[in-house]
Symmetry: C2
Subunit: 338 residues, 2 copies
């Protein structure tokens, strides 16, 4: 499998580290073998080699902030951009792992369309194209017999989409409801111990869970992007952000959390996708709800199905290796199906 | 896909009901189509028709306790046993859904071997053959390029094995640890409300969760069978019951449960499979453990992995449709892979 990787931040590097460390085992146990033939980045430069790039060198030079030290070896190209690689290269799969843009999904969206047009499967860690243009991408992929997978976009490598789309394929899913943002769950969990919202946010920022500008997390937009993905992928909707009710955690006070606890409840920021829409809102859950005991930055989702009732999956929702693994699991699923 | 179904109790009937009610949707959405060509039972009789049996008639006559009312239609056979159907029929898959025997696994084990010898894939709801002879069955299936699946044997249709063997295929699983027996979890949950062990057991029997002879559940043997399946399937072990430490819940008193609660813990019967062995034992879990809040007859499992950390799956562990669905999900996985 020859791969073009767009983006070489934490996710791309996590994926490359897994290939480097576990490549032999994957080959031996699953007959799985993948070569990164192209890497495209915003700040480190680009590299393309039809025989595959040297992953150890890729990781080493990325640490310097630039691929300029990556060793020469004919016919290495440093001047090709993503379009050149798709149009003139020989890859089988495009991996989109550049930063998410939930306003336009660009430039990733155009790259994904071009890749499908040229017969490449696409695997996304970038939420933008899946959240904003799922229907068109799915239609194009299906029409051309290509795979489009996006495990990384919901709960990192915790296999939400494998569960919903493969293992539960024979069920009808009636709703998906989860804790899909680790930053806000960490803040709410810390507030349970008596910390104020401001202190809990500052701690989340110190630990690297929250961005300097935490708006996308605490206002619920990151979770809303995941609701769009679930609503459009599971229920064939064509929802946009405007169709969702989105409320974050900024109005939740320590007193609210105390009062909830006194009545045996816990506040969680719940993201919910249904056949008729979706929402993000803080909710008081009874302790009997499996989502109530999901603490810290952990994520979880409950799928309500016709034949199996409720199925809950709990696991990491972020992390370099965890998200890198999501790309690997999608590639392995494509290999099993082709 | 042509199927021979061994056993037509709750699981077999649940599977048949799903095919009857959802067959058209499965065909339309997943291009999945299956025909039950043979049914073998201990008390209702046997039926074989190469063009497929009429599922509505199968379910209707099963209610009378005998297939003798099943309508004639050439070339229907009522005199073929499982071996005849495998050797002289034209099926693709053997579904083993007869009652579990954890002492010898027979007669199901011999039937499974014969099916593999004759080139049929095998799908099991019967725990016996998987718990007692996993290694030989797996070797035979692999050598002949056949599938052997057994989702139903661990947590009914809650997709434990799909998760462990497909979605997490690229990870190394370090241990599996779960609540794999609904009867004992129901009893322990009722005891938390102040009920005695004897009363809780009686209630579980009234509700049909526990057998008249509850030994296999309350002494931990049912959970131990699942530990063998997990240990042998996930870690390539060849363990037998003698290799496991098995302790049930019969020694847990209301006082034990009270004391645990006062220190913020809950008793759960934990089944654990590791690369070096396995065990079943009642354990006091802190409330931060996702397994602690799994109440009633619900099951759950935590898989500890190298790349994703801990992944927990919670769902039904029994039920007619839930277990019937497990057979369907295995057949769909075989269809995807062939």
């Amino acid at each position: 499998m020859k791969l073009i990787l767009i983006g070489f931040g934490a996710v791309g590097q996590g994926f490359a580290e897994i290939l480097l460390e576990h490549g032999d085992a994957l080959q031996a146990r699953h007959d799985f073998s993948a070569h990164i033939v192209g890497v495209v980045t915003a700040s480190k430069g680009n590299l393309y080699h039809p025989a595959g790039l040297d992953i150890a060198q890729l990781l080493r030079t990325a640490e310097t902030g630039s691929f300029s030290d990556y060793p020469e070896s004919e016919p290495l190209r440093r001047d090709w951009d993503a379009n050149d690689m798709i149009l003139r290269g020989s890859a089988d799969v495009l991996l989109e792992a550049s930063p998410t843009n939930l306003e336009t999904a660009q430039p990733a969206l155009a790259t994904c369309h071009l890749a499908l047009d040229q017969g490449l499967h696409i695997v996304l860690a970038n939420k933008g194209p899946v959240a904003l243009d799922y229907g068109c991408l799915r239609e194009k992929a299906d029409a051309k017999g290509l795979h489009m997978r996006y495990e990384a976009t919901v709960m990192a490598g915790t296999p939400t989409m494998h569960l919903a789309e493969d293992a539960l394929a024979g069920c009808a899913i009636r709703s998906a409801r989860g804790i899909l943002n680790g930053t806000t769950n960490y803040i709410l969990t810390q507030m349970e111990t008596g910390m104020t919202y401001a202190d809990a946010l500052a701690q989340a920022q110190d630990l690297g869970y929250a961005e300097t500008d935490p708006t996308a997390d605490v206002e619920g937009w990151d979770a809303a992007g995941k609701v769009l993905i679930l609503a459009n992928a599971l229920f064939g909707n064509s929802l946009t952000m405007n169709d969702l009710d989105v409320q974050g955690i900024t109005d939740i006070s320590s007193e609210d959390i105390d009062r909830a606890r006194q009545s045996g409840h816990r506040y969680k920021l719940i993201a919910e996708a249904r056949p008729d829409g979706g929402a993000v809102s803080p909710q008081q859950l009874p302790m009997s709800d499996p989502l109530a005991s999901v603490g810290g930055s952990t994520n979880a989702i409950t799928l309500d199905t016709d034949l199996l009732g409720k199925i809950t999956l709990i696991g990491a929702g972020a992390g370099k290796l965890e998200t890198g693994y999501a790309l690997l699991s999608d590639l392995m699923a494509i290999q099993r199906a082709t």
